[in-house]
């Protein structure tokens, strides 16, 4: 299973990751959180073997969902999900049907990806990852474009997938969702892992990193 051991990365002369060590465990959902530009996506791409110097994992065992993944051609939802079988060299209907059902888009099977909503398209992209039936899921912002109810549904699904034995790594912006669903939260800042602990108790630390206090909403200014 893929892992990072004191991995450093420079892109275009700029240091992006500094001696990052991370070993996602099977049976646990790990959330990568941190401010914009902290290096969350770079850590995920390094785990997926997509940056120079990173070990390339076996595509049948490790599946990756890119941030803002989009289809260049107007495939149907089923065709998108079938792409997840490319590493296996088959188009087995079992895993494809299963992925469509689990992501709640079986009704959209024959719909074209450019004619459904952004949230539905996002779920189709996620179903493509499920169709691979990997041992490790690497997901960059899987709940972007989703409404709150759909976000919770997808994160519940990912937690259940982890508890069924897979290693799940998600980049999440919403720290409260990470604290609620992940078994382990890793906080990233300026290319370093600054905290790595079980989800309970990470909220205050994360809030400090994001420059706010937990539980304090935005203060309303009194109208003149």
């Amino acid at each position: 299973m893929t892992a990072l051991d004191r991995f450093s990365l420079r892109l275009g002369g700029r240091p992006v990751l500094h001696e990052v060590s991370l070993r996602p465990e099977p049976g646990a959902m790990l959330a990568l959180c941190g401010p914009n530009g902290a290096g969350k996506t770079s850590i995920l791409r390094a785990l997926a073997g997509l940056v120079p110097g990173a070990q390339v994992p076996e595509p049948r065992r490790v599946a990756y969902l890119a941030q803002n993944a989009q289809a260049n051609w107007a495939l149907t939802v089923e065709q998108i999900v079938t792409l997840g079988r490319i590493p296996h060299g088959d188009t087995a209907s079992g895993p494809i049907d299963n992925a469509l059902v689990r992501c709640g888009i079986e009704a959209l099977r024959n719909a074209r990806i450019d004619r459904i909503s952004g949230g539905e398209a996002r779920r189709a992209m996620l179903a493509r990852v499920f169709a691979t039936e990997p041992e490790m899921f690497l997901l960059d912002e899987p709940t972007a474009d989703l409404d709150p109810a759909a976000s919770h549904a997808i994160l519940r699904l990912l937690r259940a997938t982890a508890e069924a034995g897979a290693a799940v790594v998600v980049v999440l912006h919403a720290i409260e969702l990470a604290a609620e669903y992940a078994h382990r939260v890793v906080l990233v800042d300026q290319g370093r892992i600054v905290a790595d602990r079980s989800a309970s108790g990470v909220l205050e630390e994360a809030a400090a990193l994001f420059g706010m206090r937990a539980g304090s909403g935005p203060r309303l200014l009194p109208l003149p």
């Binding site: 595509p59 993944a69 490319i86 992209m125």
Partner: protein
């Protein structure tokens, strides 16, 4: 599969009719005329049309760009330049196959330039830029060649050759072009999974075990073999590679791998049919000579492109 079978049947039919049509004369002919004149012409139309259609479908998938066609890579002008050099050195007058051989050498040099400029980590934009650079360079050298033409007859002959056509090609041309074309076609037909994976972007393709640089390199090599050999024997025949995948998408959907074999068959059908039109044109139109095939495909292809553009904006 049924559409593929129907296209294959149609291709056999069109190729059969093509054997019955001569230059300004329709009907069965002496066996010698059929085997020495009509057969090579029909075989070349099938081979070249098929390779251009397939190359167009592969390049549009690999570059994720609906405007891509074999001409974009600059292989066709490189092949034309090679043929022109062979022609100018007088090789072609002493040794007939020197012209297509020069074209093949030109396509080979063009491909090495393309892969050299594109670099080891070949990406879609770098391949397009390398192709544009190669096109511009070959085009400039060809223009230079035209201005330095040894005499007006040479200028007229090379210009006519550059327009593209299949008249007066012999079975020796088929023997010369078929091996690289078939090799290129075999390479391109195997790219389906790589092209499908690229639909979701280069990162996703790599994570699916289909590194984009590998897919692009194989697409470039296959297209150079297929389209380069085509240009070497038939000159520049445009629009087939660009138009064919667009014709098929409304029926077959947009999945790149689903378009490969149908694009090959449709390209072969269209070019064979266009070449039949070239032969019967003097019978039905008030023209003294047959229009060059490359001119005809451009004339027929341009309105199709306009229709595609209008459908895209609608």
């Amino acid at each position: 599969m049924t559409i593929t079978l129907r296209l294959a049947f149609l291709l056999v039919l069109v190729a059969g009719i093509s054997l019955l049509i001569g230059d300004g004369f329709v009907g069965p002919a002496n066996a010698l005329i059929v085997t020495q004149i009509r057969l090579p012409r029909t075989l070349l139309a099938v081979l070249i049309g098929g390779s251009l259609g397939l190359a167009g479908a592969v390049l549009q998938g690999a570059l994720r760009n609906p405007l891509a066609d074999p001409g974009l890579l600059g292989i066709t002008p490189a092949a034309s330049l090679g043929a022109m050099i062979a022609f100018y050195w007088g090789l072609a007058s002493r040794f007939a196959p020197a012209l297509p051989l020069g074209g093949l050498v030109g396509a080979g040099i063009g491909l090495s330039c393309l892969l050299g400029i594109g670099g080891r980590q070949l990406s879609g934009p770098s391949l397009i830029l390398a192709g544009v650079a190669l096109s511009a360079l070959s085009g400039a050298l060809m223009a230079l060649g035209l201005t330095l033409a040894p005499n007006p007859f040479a200028l007229a002959e090379i210009t006519f050759w550059l327009l593209g056509g299949l008249e007066d090609r012999a079975l020796s041309h088929v023997a010369l072009a078929a091996p690289p074309i078939l090799l290129g076609v075999a390479l391109l037909l195997r790219l389906g999974p790589g092209l499908d994976a690229l639909t979701l972007g280069e990162d996703t393709a790599a994570s699916l075990g289909q590194p984009p640089a590998r897919t692009l390199r194989r697409a470039a090599i296959g297209c150079a073999l297929a389209a380069g050999a085509s240009a070497a024997v038939a000159g520049g025949i445009g629009f087939v590679g660009l138009v064919v995948p667009h014709l098929l998408r409304p029926w077959l959907g947009q999945r790149p791998s689903a378009l490969l074999l149908p694009s090959l068959l449709t390209g072969a059908i269209l070019l064979t049919a266009a070449d039949m039109l070239v032969r019967v044109a003097p019978l039905v139109l008030p023209v003294s000579a047959a229009p060059p095939l490359g001119v005809l495909t451009a004339l027929l292809g341009a309105p199709f492109l306009v229709r595609i553009a209008r459908r895209m904006t609608a």
